[in-house]
């Protein structure tokens, strides 16, 4: 039994098959791509605006800005600037020194912690420790700074004295005067404590990617854990660990508040890490900003530009290393 229609509807025209996205998709892709460009735009704008403000200082001081270590503005009674000299050499060296101490102390501890988390801890303990370390990575630097100043300083000072007593013959551990408070050494240790959670979680992620078949092959050949780690895990993860360490270095160089509270910022190049005088670009900016006139602010912008470019470089190297070596074997 069929129903006769007085008028048959025309069959729908076949849809044209095409790979061209529809209008809505074109808009969608355009919007998302624009949004995705945001990081590029923001980083570009940061470089641009800091340059606009700071470039005339750089032009005036030339290389002296990076190598010099005086920071002075002389004004006459009316507030006009008579003479000025800006150099962040001591600050740059101080920044590097603190960051290097942080890396030297922090990275071995982080890598061993990551080994523990990946290959020794199991089940609940592992889960718990991982979340505690992630939580620590989210602690604000202000907290590390004041804890470092009020709680940690006295212990660290005692360690510094011990180092000086027994290793004082090494120039690095010598001090011109027995002032051990607020030294680059202590600032470096606080930075080490700050970067340990970050480097630990990166190393752990890289160790986690070690191919299981190789681990089991090593065990099947009778390897102990140490032998397995030496033969499989470390060759596999070396690049990633170095990348993670560089990432920690970048963090340590850009850290402001924690270093400012712990370190005694002084305008001279100081290689003696236990002595209570050091430099730090970010702390310099914070220290000088409150009292700076417009001209000096421009110099601080230039210092900020140098710091920005430096951290960008370190991050680029870290990213390259992690992508080149992380997740791949030999």
């Amino acid at each position: 039994m069929s129903v006769e229609l007085s008028e048959r509807p025309a069959p729908p025209a076949p849809r044209e098959i095409t790979t061209k996205p529809r209008k809505s998709d074109q808009i969608f892709r355009a919007v998302v791509t624009t949004g995705g460009m945001a990081s590029l735009v923001i980083l570009g704008l940061i470089a641009l605006f800091l340059s606009i403000k700071g470039v005339h200082i750089l032009a005036e001081e030339k290389f002296g800005f990076i190598t010099g270590s005086t920071w002075e503005v002389v004004t006459d009674e009316t507030g006009n600037i008579v003479q000025s000299q800006f150099g962040i050499g001591a600050m740059l060296i101080g920044t590097m020194l603190c960051a290097l101490i942080a890396i030297i102390v922090g990275v071995p501890i982080s890598v061993l912690s990551a080994l523990y988390l990946t290959f020794y801890a199991d089940g609940r303990v592992k889960k718990f420790l991982i979340s505690v370390i992630d939580l620590m990575a989210a602690f604000p630097s202000l907290l590390f700074g004041f804890w470092g100043f009020i709680v940690f300083m006295s212990s660290a000072e005692y360690w510094a004295k011990l180092l000086n007593k027994f290793l004082g013959f090494i120039p690095f551990f010598d001090v011109p005067a027995p002032i051990f408070e607020r030294s680059p050494f202590i600032a470096g240790l606080v930075l080490a404590i700050m970067i340990i959670p970050i480097v630990t979680s990166i190393s752990r992620e890289i160790f986690d990617q070690t191919p299981l078949d190789r681990i089991q092959a090593a065990y099947a050949l009778g390897a102990t854990k140490l032998a397995m780690i030496k033969a499989v895990v470390i060759p596999f993860g070396r690049g990633g660990i170095i990348g993670g360490a560089m990432l920690g270095l970048g963090r340590a160089m850009g850290e402001t508040v924690a270093v400012y509270t712990v370190l005694n910022v002084v305008y001279q190049i100081n290689w003696q890490v236990l002595f209570g005088a050091g430099g730090n670009v970010a702390s310099l900016i914070l220290l000088k900003f409150g009292e700076a006139g417009p001209y000096e602010v421009d110099a601080l912008m230039a210092a900020g530009l140098i710091l920005f470019l430096l951290t960008l470089l370190v991050n680029a190297i870290a990213d390259f290393l992690i992508n080149r070596f992380g997740g791949k074997g030999r």
Binding site: D25, F28, R29, V32, T33, T34, G35, G36, S39, L40, I42, L43, I46, L50, I52, K53, P108, L112, S113, L115, Y116, L129, S131, V132, I133, D134, L135, A138, F139, L142, L143, F144, F146, W147, F152, S155, L162, T224, K225, L226, A227, I229, G250, G254, T256, T261, A282, I285, L286, L300, M301, G304, L307, F308, T311, L312, V314, N315, A316, D319
Partner: protein
């Protein structure tokens, strides 16, 4: 004829004898360390820790050497080192949390939620003044930063997971690089691009903008990870039902990633809530309650802590600062707990 029935056993697991021996080695190390602190020049916590460390290494090494030879002895050294490393990692976090709670609870009182510091100085008795202005300021600035950075972060994550254009690698790198931008540089950028040329005034909005720069990478990276967790079958199903890419993302992918996106928001907030350096430069940091983000100095929790520590000097000022720190830390704990809870749930 007797039949031997094999009893199920796990020969690879340590027997109870092994366990007891291991515990004995550790106890012996503690005793040795205690003795060395008592009778030699080493003293204090550091002396104890170092001698414990050496004792553990030596005892473990010799014990395993005698039992199972060189390879096992070396292996035990790595184990001791790894355990020591995790202990060293955990000491600061425990110390920080204990310090903040022990010093912070003295500065707590109900007034901190209802009063601001307009009529009180940091050195006044604790009962005067409170945190109201700082709490409101922090909430407003973080909220502002969130409104700006959430769309940008999610769009970046969508570009990296859904569009996957030719710029995926560079953008991944740029997001990574952006998360390494020193916070003080973010502050300087807002100063040089907006405060000096345009507004000529420090305000809460400027603080928000500086925080936005620091928040975008965290949100983008977390959201990217979360979107990667969405099974590809869902996308394929959406397209197979005739959905365009836009409909698939809006109707299938994003709803499925809802709890992941909330996690991204929470981690972003946790990242910036304690950020101090940019706020010192651009927010002005007032002492009175200010509800207008575009005009006038705005206080914030980190600024309040900073100011109490650096301009005070009395026990009251220190108590105030630690109380502020306690409030800040509790925020971070709560946010983190929420994030854990949400990411622990299965993807819808």
């Amino acid at each position: 004829m007797t039949m031997t029935v094999p009893t199920p056993s796990k020969p690879w697991q340590p027997t109870s004898k092994n366990r007891i021996e291991n515990v004995l080695v550790v106890v012996a190390a503690f005793v040795l360390a205690g003795l060395s602190v008592e009778f030699t020049g080493l003293s204090g916590k550091l002396g104890f820790f170092i001698s414990l460390f050496i004792a553990l290494l030596v005892l473990n090494f010799s014990f395993h050497y005698l039992q199972r030879g060189t390879a096992a002895a070396k292996d035990s050294l790595l184990q001791v080192l790894a355990v020591m490393a995790i202990v060293i990692t955990l000491i600061p976090i425990v110390s920080i949390v204990v310090t903040v709670i022990a010093k912070g609870y003295k500065g707590l009182h109900w007034g901190i939620l209802t009063k601001d510091m307009a009529l009180a100085s940091v050195n006044d008795p604790i009962a005067n003044g409170g945190l109201l202005h700082a709490l409101v300021g922090t909430i407003m600035m973080v909220g502002g930063a969130l409104i700006l950075s959430f769309p940008i972060g999610v769009l970046t994550a969508l570009y990296l997971t859904e569009i996957r254009g030719s710029l995926t690698r560079p953008i991944k790198f740029l997001v990574q690089a952006m998360s390494g931008v020193p916070s003080i540089v973010a502050g300087l950028f807002i100063l040089s691009s907006l405060v000096y040329p345009v507004t000529k005034e420090l305000s809460g909005l400027m603080g928000s903008l500086a925080l936005t720069i620091l928040m975008i990478p965290t949100i983008a990276r977390t959201a990217e990870e979360m979107l990667h967790l969405i099974p590809n079958e869902l996308r394929e199903a959406g397209v197979a039902l005739g959905g365009t890419q836009w409909r698939t993302v809006a109707g299938v992918v994003l709803p499925a990633a809802r709890s992941g996106l909330v996690t991204a928001i929470i981690l972003g907030i946790a990242r910036i809530i304690g950020e101090t350096a940019p706020l010192l430069l651009v927010s002005g940091g007032g002492d009175a309650l200010n509800l207008n983000p575009t005009e006038g100095a705005m206080g914030s929790l980190p600024y309040y802590i900073w100011k109490s520590f650096l301009t005070g000097g009395t026990p009251e000022a220190a108590a105030r600062a630690w109380a502020g720190m306690l409030v800040l830390l509790s925020f971070i704990f709560i946010l983190f707990g929420l994030a854990r809870y949400l990411s622990g749930r299965k993807v819808a």
